[in-house]
Subunit: 415 residues, 2 copies
């Protein structure tokens, strides 16, 4: 563990050289990373194969772990796209002269050292390093052991790009994957400024419990879509189907349909065909279950209490029928993970009340919850979707990898 | 404990009514609080006397705890001043139409429920409640047991003002002072959105260690002033004396003078008279000790390693003499608590390098570190000075009692 702490200290020390490097230098590093990904693609794929060889041929993680020539091109492309985003550091947020003549300004500066704990996807290594370097932050990366060969060569290339531009390789540190070293990271308050866990709920819980370093939680998304009494039914069906099936394993996908009783029968009648074609398993409440049963819906279950507030991450969802708008709001307030929530309605007053009253990172009127995403929002690549309220809420992208600094310039002012 | 959790839940539920109340209504509550402080001053002073009666007549805490007619007037005045600050919620941070027609905006909204743990000063009760109500946040207050009678009547008046304006009294909850209930607060992730500890280093450590709720650390200030080779000596003496003696018990007061060797003798020669008059105990390093000894400085000690990075909170400081600018930066980087740091110099290049390289909430050139304060910065009353980097850095005032919310308005957009 002492070696790891020593390396954290080196990363802390080196971080200021990166913070003070020019935007051009930092972008030159990114450009070199993209070039090296192309040039060394054969080496990367060879190392990636070593990781794949450790997994059974039908292991579900293989696809997330596997790199191909095409995926490497996409990865290099995403590094280039980060170069084109505005530098979030060095922005002047306010500037004024106090009555005593002190010139006071507030500017954005890099956070310092960002720790990211993530699981097997090796593209995270490049994405996080690119975002951190672009914004002048040093990074401590703790990837999954399944991807260790791939991550090692990727960080080797990042180091090469740093050296080519005269910046210490200490600014990007790939930690060993020993489980107990995660604790060293979570308690290194002197060296690490923020920790971002990317991964399972269990990981996020561990970080929340153990970390002494401030964290950004990128938590689970338990997302509702409320189909109101005045919803246009075909629009509601399109939105619900899209929110559920376009990518069910991601955090902004639909988990529960909240349905006004007056529209329930008509809505479900139209939902049956598309949901059947995607084989969506439906955990239906007491009211919707008999309706779906009478429509001969083939993938039907009785909802239990645990099926509300449940993140399905699969072709599955629950349905809750409510008597009125207030019951819908109350259900969402109780079970929401405050990620993304939507209402489908033609009633503007009701919609505006929903947008105001529902406490979530993103709220939608007549649109799919699937839009909550850094790329969709025009923010570029994201480190995760924050479901907490401090510092960043929703997509945690480049623009949030900064803190503030107050600068006072005087001529001898005292208080 | 179950009662406390039930009350947290009531506070959570009530918080949205406050968040959705108009700015006029929230300000009417504040106005009524100010009026009630005046009208009920005799009752408040009587309850305050009960708390004072629990303390020995020479107890150092008496002064912090004691209210007077004049202090109550100041308190009512500070509530009125919060009314005049702009509402931090409801600001549109960005607004755009995505290529698919989705109208996407990012607005500020209240954090929700803010938990504040503080020690004996009863003015905090009113200040925090006023800031929270103004910004649409519910508040859970956990004050010190020494001030329980005073806090109880103050919260009673706040409740009266809420009732007069049709808002549930649940939005301001004064917790019982049992120590174990602090744990209930720190782990109530479902009900509390942020916790702010105000008080001793021990309290802040406990919160950092135990809290599952995101926190804003308002930590200790270990503040340096670097007197550079090219400093104007009389200015440097004025700044150092002000930073040390104007209010030594607060976090932005000076703890260590870092002194360039070439100017050490001349600077100390001028420092001796004012420091002697304030009886400032000086913990001097190997170089400055003989100099001060030869100047017959009467309050002299030999600095130990522990005297660097030490927050004195008294008429005392340490002195470190350095060979060059880099050694000064390195000393500050090692021992700073990243609160407030200053350089005194006539060299603009060196000053700008210092302002950029030193990692602290506030950095000053030719000014006293004592300026780091919400009121001085024009932000109004503050809940504390944040020494962490997420969300708020430096004075944590009204403007930071908000989070963001993304709002997407569509016409059936799917992804």
């Amino acid at each position: 563990m002492s070696t790891v702490l020593e390396q954290f200290q080196l990363t802390r020390s080196a971080s200021s050289s990166l913070a003070m490097a020019s935007g051009e230098t930092r972008n030159a590093v990114l450009s070199d990373i993209a070039t090296l990904i192309h040039e060394k693609s054969a080496d990367i794929l060879r190392e990636n194969q070593k990781d794949l060889d450790q997994l059974a041929i039908d292991h579900p993680m293989r696809d997330r772990l596997k790199l191909t020539q095409e995926r490497l091109s996409d990865l290099a492309e995403s590094v280039i796209s980060v170069m084109q985003l505005p530098d979030p550091a060095g922005q002047v947020l306010s500037k004024k002269t106090l009555p005593n003549g002190l010139e006071l300004s507030k500017i954005t500066v890099p956070l310092g050292v960002v720790g990211v704990i993530f699981e097997s996807r090796p593209n995270v290594t490049i994405d996080v390093a690119a975002l951190c370097i672009r914004s002048g932050n040093a990074a401590v990366l703790r990837g999954g052991s399944d991807a260790i060969h791939t991550n090692t060569i990727l960080v080797h290339l990042i180091h090469q790009a740093l050296v080519q531009n005269g910046i210490s390789t200490d600014v990007v540190y790939l930690m060993p994957t020993d489980r107990e070293l995660v604790t060293a990271l979570l308690t290194a308050v002197k060296f690490i400024d923020v920790i971002i866990p990317r991964g399972s709920e269990a990981l996020i819980q561990r970080v929340r419990k153990e970390s002494l370093v401030p964290t950004i939680e990128t938590g689970a998304g338990v997302c509702h879509t409320y189909v109101a009494a005045n919803a246009e039914i075909s629009m509601a069906v399109d939105i619900v189907v899209n929110a559920k099936v376009s990518r069910p394993a991601v955090c902004n996908s639909l988990d529960t349909i909240v349905l006004h009783k007056s529209i329930a029968s008509a809505f479900l009648t139209q939902l049956v065909a598309p949901f059947t074609s995607y084989k969506v398993k439906v955990y239906a409440d007491n009211t919707s279950h008999p309706l779906l049963k009478s429509l001969n819906y083939p993938f039907l279950e009785v909802a239990k209490e645990a099926d509300f507030g449940r993140e399905f991450l699969d072709f599955a969802c629950s349905i809750k029928v409510v008597d009125d708008f207030q019951e819908a709001l109350s259900h969402i307030s109780t079970y929401s993970s405050r990620h993304s929530e939507a209402i489908v309605t033609s009633d503007e007053v009701e919609a505006n009340y929903f947008l105001s009253a529902v406490d979530a990172a993103a709220v939608y009127w007549n649109a799919s919850t699937r839009f909550t995403d850094g790329g969709e929002f025009g923010l570029g690549a994201e480190i995760g979707i924050s479901t907490q309220k401090l510092h960043a809420r929703g997509p945690f992208a480049l623009e949030k990898l900064v803190t503030e600094k107050w600068i006072g310039i005087g001529q001898g002012q005292i208080r």
